[in-house]
């Protein structure tokens, strides 16, 4: 099998799917890092982002990137409301927050299933065309995903490092009590973090939707991948999400070409279990309380 | 008489920092020993090392002649060495009585299956445990609030409950980590009295504390630490006049004056 597919192809496939994973896992790990919440509903915000883009770009023919931005803002706003109403009252009860996230996941999926139906929908690709060479074949819309991921990462890095909000976020992630004593409005930071996490999920959904089809259950597969990435890279670590995503993408690509897709799916979960046992804080995370 | 507790050359390194360095001291049975030193001297770390919560980088600890370094905390507790925590650790949602009952249960000799089927031996054990728990509560003057949830107790009572739970395990040696921290003089005196009564009952005590008058008044032997090392050991009057000790505590004040004021 290896002879039919070039190594370059495996690498490129791995890196592109790796970028998908990074984009999906970014918001997830951010929310855990700041709020210590495993956001089971992350996949549904991803799915919501895809549906907003579907309506704005697919149905109303708005410019794709405008639709993407609008989607991020809308879902972020929803996320902020959700955080205030559902998670804020449960702030000190970690397990209850987690269960509520689970409940939110179920409810959101149900609501969208009722309003949008359960059929798969397709979106036209924002960029078309395929790159052909002797060794490589890949469609440009996947390249777009890689490009968006890179841009998002750059913007996020800039935000975290240089903006006031970003610094507040970092302070709260390190030590919420200390941040509180420094006068940082920790509650508002939590809401902001959750909103940003949801926005990132929405962008991921919106940009991946034209590549694969979109349907109300697409969040399920996404969050499973996000789980693997985030545990690999370390719960709460943004660089970890990048490394984890790329590592997973490459590992899957290699395994898929050697053993087939089914085995590579199992690989993900085996990896989670091993990492949790050996290095629960992942490849790059820290052992925080 | 052989010492109850022997600490020999105990060391603990955290990366480049030596939290405890080659510490050695002994505790005679029946005594009350004070372990003092400026903040960060390593006193709580010593407790963590002795009770198995932390593994030492070097050295050993012997209890009743047996080497206990490397054993798990629950094993050490069962052997008769128990500690209280600096930040009060209780079973917050359970009643005061239940808290103490859980401490007592460890000494019961009823096996898993016997307890499961509710044999006569098990029932008897339950009655005895219950009686012993009530005695303990009376001893620490908490029997009036026995049904109160532990987290609802005022601070001083929580500390007393912590001691009661430790006592429930019938220890030979109790390590008390800052038992009067944050207490007013009245509460401090009451706690000192309680500790004396515990000691008179046959339990050896080692106390870590910052309150000087409390330590000087209570302990017959004092060990002084600074930067992880022992700098002095002896009776209260010896320690009070020891130049190394004065230097350690004064040094702290000097540093504070130079930096802050």
């Amino acid at each position: 099998m290896l002879t039919e597919v070039s190594i370059a192809q495996i690498l490129v496939n791995g890196l592109t799917s790796g970028s998908f994973y990074v984009l999906m896992a970014l918001g997830f790990t951010l929310i855990f890092g700041i709020m210590r919440l495993v956001n089971f509903a992350h996949g549904e915000f991803y799915m919501l982002g895809a549906f907003v883009v579907y309506h704005l770009y697919g149905r109303l023919h708005l410019n794709f990137f405008l639709a993407l931005a609008a989607s991020a803002v809308t879902v972020a706003a929803l996320g902020a409301i959700v955080e205030r109403v559902i998670f804020f009252p449960l702030r000190s009860r970690e397990l209850s927050m987690l269960m509520s996230a689970l409940g939110l996941q179920i409810a959101l999926q149900g609501i969208i299933a009722v309003t949008e139906g359960v059929e798969a929908l397709s979106l036209p690709a924002p960029v078309s065309g395929v790159y052909h060479s002797r060794w490589l074949i890949f469609p440009y819309d996947r390249l777009l995903v890689v490009a968006v991921t890179a841009v998002v990462l750059a913007l996020f890095y800039a935000f975290i490092t240089w903006s006031k909000f970003g610094q507040a976020l970092r302070a709260v992630a390190q030590d919420a009590e200390a941040a509180l004593m420094q006068g940082i409005p920790v509650n508002r930071v939590y809401t902001l973090a959750f909103a940003i996490g949801c926005a990132l999920a929405a962008i991921a959904g919106g940009v991946i939707a034209p590549v694969f089809s979109l349907h109300v259950y697409m969040g399920q597969a996404a969050i499973l991948k996000a789980f693997v990435v985030v545990i690999l890279g370390g719960l709460g670590s943004v660089p970890g999400a990048v490394v984890g995503g790329l590592v997973l993408g490459l590992a899957e690509s290699v395994f898929a070409s050697l053993f087939g897709v089914l085995v590579s799916d199992m690989l993900g979960f085996l990896l989670i279990m091993m990492i949790l046992l050996w290095r629960p804080f992942g490849l790059l995370g820290r052992a925080t309380a | 008489m052989a010492p109850l507790l022997e600490v020999r050359g105990l060391s603990k390194q955290f990366g480049g920092l030596a939290a405890v360095a080659e510490l050695s001291f002994t505790v005679e049975p029946g005594s009350i020993v004070g372990l003092i030193g400026p903040n960060g001297a390593g006193k709580t770390t010593v407790f963590n090392l002795v009770t198995g919560q932390l593994a030492p980088t070097a050295g050993e600890v012997r209890f009743n002649g047996r080497k206990i370094t490397g054993l798990a905390p629950y094993d050490i507790a069962r052997m008769g060495l128990v500690r209280t925590f600096q930040s009060t650790v209780l079973y917050p949602e359970s009643s005061v009585l239940e808290n103490v009952l859980r401490g007592c249960a460890v000494r019961s000799r009823v096996g898993f299956w016997s307890g499961l089927v509710g044999s006569r031996a098990a029932a008897q054990d339950v009655a005895e445990t219950h009686a012993r728990a009530l005695d303990l509560l009376r001893f620490v003057e908490l029997d009036g609030v026995r049904s109160e949830a532990a987290r609802n107790l005022p601070y001083g009572h929580q500390k007393a409950l912590g001691i009661a739970i430790g006592l429930a395990t019938r220890p030979e040696l109790m390590l008390l980590d800052e038992p009067v921290a944050g207490m007013n003089p009245e509460e401090t005196a009451r706690t000192a009295q309680l500790i004396r009564r515990v000691n008179e009952g046959g339990t050896t005590i080692v106390v870590v504390e910052h309150d000087m008058s409390f330590v000087m008044g209570l302990c017959r032997t004092i060990v002084v630490m600074n930067y992880g090392r022992k700098i002095a050991e002896g009776r209260p009057d010896e320690i009070r006049n020891d130049p190394a000790v004065i230097d350690a505590y004064l040094g702290v004040d000097e540093d504070a004056a130079a930096q802050g004021a």
Partner: protein, 339 residues
């Protein structure tokens, strides 16, 4: 507040009430006109068994998302033993439980040291991994097609296998009653006290002589034992099993049963199972709304009813009993404030 005397639910179920319930239970099959109601009841009791197992694990403070996975282990063990090797039902049943318990024991040693959310995530991954394993190893599990032609249970002294839903009902009833009795005794025993201690403060428990790992391992094994037995019953009731019956969402369901019924009392998982099992059927016309309802219920309970329904049911019962002039155990005092 955890008072170690019996919880409100158990206090109500004393003497005459318990006897009345038991007698009532014997006559249940006659109360059902249609077979479907009986089918739901049987399924509810099977679920109650597995939810009860999860309750034991929850009692030591570990939240397991793999209960469906262990149920699957039991189901496949029992199914394959009886179908492929023609082993009698009781042997398959016992093997199912023991097999699941042994796996739990072996895994427990390494995974029970994981704290809080990390343990939960591991069991989540384990459940998914087992699900994919079931799909991909046809030799062992029949792959996606599952195992068909499972035979109804046979009891040694009965000539006929238990083909009818009513007959099966008595079997499940006995098994669940035995399991309940065992867990009840466990919770009242010194070991039950140890479980509570480890859940509330592992640090203090260890510092005063409890061995948390041993306690959690025993609890985890018992919990998975019950899941395995439940799985076997499931297989021999539906007579067909496939991987899709044992996904992460089934695990979530068992957790939800404990949450809604209340995880602090024994009645909780039973109540939760009895309430949640018929729900998909009752709302069959509104499958998607059912999902919304599920999710909303989850969130509402986590926020406002963390102890589940049992305290509400107990107060309602007491109010009714009081009005009717019946004695309902000890005088009303909220178990949470204790007296």
């Amino acid at each position: 507040m955890t008072e170690r005397r019996e919880s409100g639910g158990a206090r109500v179920l004393r003497g005459p009430v318990l006897a009345a319930l038991l007698i009532l239970a014997l006559f249940v099959p006659w109360m059902f006109e249609n077979q479907f109601g009986l089918y739901l009841l049987d399924m509810a009791l099977i679920n109650a068994m597995i939810a009860l197992g999860l309750n034991v694990v929850l009692k030591t403070g570990q939240v397991s998302m793999a209960q469906a996975g262990f149920m699957a282990m039991g189901a496949y063990t029992s199914a394959q033993l009886t179908v492929k090797l023609d082993v009698p039902f009781l042997v398959g049943f016992v093997a199912a439980g023991l097999g699941a318990a042994l796996v739990a024991l072996a895994l427990g040693r390494i995974i029970l040291r994981l704290k809080g959310v990390y343990f939960l995530l591991f069991t989540f991954a384990l459940n998914e991994f087992l699900f994919l394993l079931n799909k991909n190893v046809p030799a062992l599990t029949g792959g996606n097609d599952g195992v068909v032609g499972i035979k109804p249970p046979t009891i040694p002294f009965l000539a006929e296998p238990l083909r009818s839903k009513a007959a099966f009902y008595y079997l499940v009833l006995v098994v669940v009653a035995l399991a309940l009795a065992f867990v009840w005794a466990l919770y009242r025993s010194p070991f039950g006290r140890a479980m509570d201690a480890v859940r509330e403060s592992e640090l203090l428990a260890a510092a005063t002589g409890y061995n948390p790992m041993r306690i959690k391992m025993i609890a985890f094994s018992i919990g998975c034992l019950l899941a395995g037995l439940g799985g076997s019953l499931y297989a021999h009731f539906l007579l067909y099993i496939a991987p899709f019956s044992f996904t992460f969402w089934e695990s979530v369901n068992f957790l939800l049963m404990n949450i809604i019924g209340g995880s602090t009392s024994l009645a909780g998982p039973i109540l939760g199972a009895l309430m949640l099992t018929p729900l998909p059927e009752l709302l069959r016309a509104y499958v998607l709304w059912q999902q919304v309802l599920y999710g909303l219920t989850f969130m509402v309970f986590m926020r406002f009813l963390p102890d589940g329904m049992t305290p509400l049911c107990v107060s309602a019962w007491r109010a009714a009993a009081g009005r009717l002039g019946l004695q309902a155990g000890e005088p009303a005092s909220d178990p949470r404030s204790g007296s």
